[in-house]
């Protein structure tokens, strides 16, 4: 499924009926939640660390221009180049331009949500480049023609049987009778296929988890080591990152790294945490000849000072997705946007425009579990509610949902009328419930009774009984 496709309600219906997906989602829930909880329990200063992480981000965002300028200067000092991209289109053109100038044919990629955001792969492929994702999950979805269904575990919706089928149909040059039923078989085969791609690539593109203003370094955290090969083997290394990835100092990056993996996968630290600055120096044994950073704005610079500024604190750990009951139910593709889950429902209307994504902020129970686990304490529910307010204000006055709500508010503001109207309604519902005490189908309440019975009211309101002098 591609980002931005389909209709949310239709997507969710399909997702709920997809048995393989439902099984995979069960694993997400059990795996990620328990692992984060364990990591949190093992680190006494976990909550303090969250406060520190939040403060670092707030401070940085308040002085973003300054730190970005510092970062740019440091990258240049190390011999790299920084390119500023206003929007996705510009970012794509800059990256394609670098590839062209390098005379590249083959491009390898480390995992990067920014390149998903700008739709880079299709753009480069259309221009004739071979583009190979080297993160295992990204590789799997690339050969399937899918987008990531999770920001840190892009292929979390797949199971190993599906992967085996895909590998057999995609790696045609390998012996058909080879064993592929074990996860280790699959990993080894992917390694084998990718090894050759790494060596032959002209350009390597990675994302960045942090950009350090003090040192001009970019940081990637990975578990497979593919990012390191992507950025050191080719002649040209391009880092694609968005503006808010900048942090002031190495120390700040360390604090954020301590909270990132714990929140994401429950690891103390990811297997590889790599700091990169500039191209290969004379005394270096390896590394790229050219080093570029493409800094994507895409509307972000307009956020500080506004209602959605807090969203820029996000360090893309994925904890809010893992703990979200809606994400757990339908998975990432149903959202039809690059970023799924709670963070995506706040971000997508900002990135893709409200008209494209107006339903997303409503598809949430406001249970608040996302905010409770967010390492940088982003008030996601409050921001989703803000989107709802904007959407409500824009809705035509006669829209069904608006009208119903307005009627309720009107009644609730007029207690006598409220009681006059509600008295017969609860009587009728109580009668309908009858001796069973519940209603299985309602003419206008199908949305409720399709999924569950409606417990019937007891018959007379508390206020009426109290007024008559009834006491416990």
């Amino acid at each position: 499924m591609l980002a931005g496709t389909g209709n949310f309600t239709e997507n969710t219906r399909k997702a709920l009926e997809d048995a393989a997906l439902q099984k995979a989602l069960g694993n997400v829930k059990r795996g990620f939640i328990a692992k984060r909880a364990k990591a949190r329990a093992a680190l006494p200063e976990f909550e303090t660390l969250r406060d520190e992480a939040k403060e670092i981000k707030i401070h940085t965002l308040a002085h973003m221009d300054l730190y970005l300028a510092r970062y740019e200067a440091q990258v240049k000092r190390a011999g790299g180049q920084v390119h500023w991209a206003r929007d996705s289109g510009q970012a794509r053109r800059i990256i394609a331009g670098i590839c062209k100038a390098a005379g590249a044919k083959s491009v390898t990629k480390g995992k990067s949500m920014i390149t998903e955001e700008i739709g880079l792969n299709r753009y480069l492929q259309a221009q004739g480049y071979e583009v190979v994702e080297t993160d295992l999950g990204e590789y799997l979805i690339q050969i399937r023609g899918e987008t990531p269904s999770h920001i840190i575990a892009p292929a979390v919706h797949l199971n190993k049987e599906q992967v085996e089928t895909d590998f057999r149909s995609h790696h045609k040059n390998l012996p058909p009778e080879r064993p592929l039923s074990k996860v280790s078989d699959l990993v080894n085969e992917a390694r084998q296929v990718l090894r050759e791609k790494f060596v032959n690539a002209d350009v390597g593109i990675t994302g960045a988890n942090f950009l350090i203003a003090e040192t001009g370094q970019s940081v990637i955290v990975t578990n497979e080591g593919n990012g390191d090969l992507t950025q050191t083997l080719p002649r040209v290394h391009i880092v694609a990152a968005s503006l808010e990835k900048v942090v002031p100092t190495l120390e700040d990056a360390s604090t954020l790294i301590r909270i990132l993996a714990r929140s994401a996968t429950g690891q103390d630290i990811s297997t590889y945490t790599t700091f990169t600055s500039g191209p290969k120096r004379e005394q270096d044994l390896d590394g790229p000849e050219e080093f570029h950073v493409v800094l994507l704005d895409n509307g972000r610079s307009g956020l500080p000072g506004g209602e959605f500024e807090d969203m820029l604190r996000c360090i893309r750990c994925g904890a809010c997705l893992n703990h979200c009951p809606v994400y757990q139910s339908v998975g990432g593709h149903a959202y039809g946007s690059v970023y799924p889950g709670p963070m995506g429902s706040v971000l997508t209307p900002l990135l893709q425009g409200v008209s494209e994504a107006r339903h997303l902020p409503h598809a949430c129970t406001l249970c608040g579990r996302c905010e409770a686990v967010c390492p940088v304490r982003i008030p996601l529910p409050a921001m989703l509610r803000r989107w709802r307010m904007r959407d409500f204000a824009k809705k035509p006055p006669l829209a069904k949902a608006k009208l119903g709500l307005k009627l309720w508010v009107f009644l609730a503001r007029h207690p006598a009328l409220y009681r006059l109207i509600t008295t017969p309604v609860i009587k009728i519902l109580a009668l309908t419930g009858g001796r069973k005490g519940r209603i299985c189908a309602l003419p206008f309440g199908g949305a409720w009774t399709d999924q569950r019975d409606l417990p019937a009211p007891q018959g007379t309101s508390f206020m009426a009984r109290w007024r008559k002098g009834e006491r416990p």
Binding site: C364, C367, G368, R385, R388, Q451, D453, P455
Partner: protein
């Protein structure tokens, strides 16, 4: 230990009961139980006539103006009381956490909303906290489990309080859910706007409930309880669902939620 109704002392705390629309319209027995628990603890309970809804449906659907209007109503109706108590974590949180924010730019109501927020509590946490109630004098042979409603738990920190009181009931065994922090999928308008997803989420909850082996589900938010009870009954489960106040007050004459006589 609160035994039975004391006649209120002259300096007794005067409480305004915020009944909540669901308890008022669907389940008065919850409000009667709340009155009983508060009176047993020596409070005087009054029920202002002009109360209706706290405005949560409007607020969570994005109707800011509607939510503000209802918030002002509640402030006016309840500000004269020493404390305002609601048998619902989400309604209490609406007043305690969201009113000050909602009315902060209102010259007439801004400060009054803050005052009201300071003295508004969810019933059970008020009993154990402010009133220092440690237990009830009750006997009930039952194996129960507890659903923590999201707003109460995350916005008001209600988790241990109901368990403290339930532990004092003679014969009651409490078994915890495996994922007690999970939402039940109600979410107000969400339950009818996205019925399929809501149904999926609540089915995970009913499975968790079933797995505990408990035969009684308790909680303190009627919205969630009606959602869970409705699903349990639809699935043919024999687990009974009640508001925790009914059990603590021994107000068990009314059939459980979603059951008849």
């Amino acid at each position: 230990m609160v035994k039975k109704k004391k006649s209120p002392a002259p300096d007794a705390i005067r409480i305004g009961l915020f009944v909540t629309c669901l308890a008022d319209l669907f389940r008065p027995s919850v409000a009667f139980a709340a009155v009983k628990l508060l009176e047993n603890a020596g409070c005087i309970v009054e029920v202002p006539e002009t109360q209706t809804c706290c405005g949560q449906p409007a607020y969570n659907s994005g109707d800011e103006a509607g939510a503000k209007a209802l918030a002002r109503n509640v402030v006016s109706a309840f500000e004269s009381f020493e404390y305002v108590i609601a048998p619902s974590g989400s309604c209490a949180a609406m007043i305690r956490v969201h009113y000050p924010e909602l009315l902060k730019d209102d010259p007439q109501f801004g400060a009054r909303a803050v005052d009201l927020a300071d003295k508004t509590y969810e019933l059970i946490s008020f009993l154990t906290g402010t009133l220092g109630v440690r237990g009830v004098d009750m006997k009930l042979d039952a194996r129960a489990t507890y659903h923590d409603s999201c707003s109460g738990m995350r916005e008001l920190g209600i988790k241990a309080q109901p368990r403290t009181l339930l532990a004092s009931i003679d014969g009651l065994e409490l078994r915890e859910l495996t994922d007690p922090n999970a939402c039940c999928g109600f979410g107000g308008a969400f339950s009818v706007k996205y019925p399929d997803i809501s149904g999926k989420i609540v089915s995970v909850k009913t499975k968790d409930i079933g797995d505990t082996g408990a035969k009684l589900l308790l909680g303190s938010d009627l919205g969630c309880l009606m959602n869970i009870a409705g699903r349990l009954k639809r699935e043919g489960s024999d687990v009974e669902v009640r508001h925790v106040a009914e059990v603590l007050a021994g107000e068990l004459a009314a059939p459980p939620i979603g059951e008849g006589d």
